[in-house]
Amino acid sequence: MRKMISIGTRLIVAALFCAAPLPAHAAGVTPDALSYPGPAWSPYVVGAGIGVLSWLTFYFSDKPIGASSFYAQVAGFIGKLFAKRHTESLAYFKENPPRVGWEFVFVLATIAGGFLAAWTGGEFENAWLPPMWTARFGDSIALRAVVAAGGGVLMAFGARLAGGCTSGHGISGTMQLNVASWIAVVCFFIGGIAVAMPLFFL
């Protein structure tokens, strides 16, 4: 396990500083994302669908589509379970007390929606590792777990700091001409490209 963590740490460090060599399995083979199955539906149909869905959430629920606050609410619920007073004393939870609200059920339903789409389209994966990950980093689930969880920590922290995620800023905020969202989404891609490139091409 310690070895796994050390590999994971090295991977994260390598990704962030583009320095240490990566445990590349397919050395010499350039990763090609397009060699894996594409989307079931046209991105324009899906994009337009999400656009129309935004009209509906604004009109019927007075809410923009967003996903990241769900995870903060789960964190708040867990925190209240173990350290109620401490959790309630934190500035973020004072302003955003965890509650089962619209955003909460929205993300839970997103999981179910993903299942329905995969099931109806015969695309249910039932897999612990994405094929493109395995081709590059091998079949250790522990390594994937450490990297994905570490990525999740960074991403949620960044989302809370920036005020939203790919949905809240990237789609809902940009479509409202929100300057914060346009800045954030450009930074999402700069940060993402800067880490993904060394992760797969070094």
């Binding site: 989307p39 991105p43 656009g51 903060a72 700069i190």
Partner: protein
């Protein structure tokens, strides 16, 4: 439920009870189902499509986002013009927007899913999304733990208040909406020619 001419009743006006009203929750479930369904059908629950975007090989993510922005923007501003919806503008704070955005992007490349697409990926049976989601909860906690300090420091850097592109450019909102819709559509046409997938 909609009062034209007046701002629509805001969600912040209601009492923060621990559980929202059944009507609100049912709406949230229906919209969430549709969102997850669309994300999975769009392929953005797939690790290789999301990473493919960050490696600049597969442009599905940008195509979906830009189409959603064009369609969503036109509809929202028409609805807003007739006082049917509220806008939800978040304050622009250069420091946290940029630093948080870069951290988010770095984490996105490592996790391979974002908060919304991770949920769709879990639904599609990509179980590694669970690790990422656990990380998202932990990262949210970390932020909350530091939120008192952050609010007094980083989150004050470059605070410009609630700002839209129309305000920043001193151009009427309608003009910005039309211009941006044309620009993004042209970009999509060019993108489709360069990267038909």
């Amino acid at each position: 439920m909609i009062d034209p001419g007046q701002a629509v009743k805001t969600s912040s006006a209601e009492l923060p009870s621990p559980v929202a009203s059944p009507g609100k929750l049912i709406a949230g479930v229906i919209f969430g189902l549709a969102f997850g369904f669309l994300l999975q059908k769009g392929g953005v629950g797939k690790y290789h499509i999301l990473l493919g975007q960050l490696l600049l090989q597969d442009w599905t993510v940008v195509k979906i986002m830009m189409t959603a922005v064009v369609v969503g923007m036109v509809g929202i501003f028409v609805l807003h013009h007739f006082a049917k919806v509220n806008l939800h503008i978040k304050p622009t704070k250069l420091g946290p927007n940029i630093i948080g955005g870069l951290l988010f992007g770095a984490g996105f490349a490592l996790m391979g899913y974002c908060p919304g697409t991770g949920a769709a990926a879990l639904g599609q049976g990509s179980w590694d999304a669970l690790f990422g989601m656990a990380g998202l909860v932990a990262g949210s906690w970390l932020y909350a733990e530091l939120s008192g300090t952050l609010k007094k420091s980083v989150e004050k850097w470059g605070d410009l208040g609630k700002l839209t592109l129309a305000d920043a450019l001193h151009i009427p909102r309608g003009v910005v909406v039309v211009a941006l819709a044309v620009l993004l559509t042209a970009a999509l046409v060019a993108l489709e020619r360069a990267y038909p997938r």
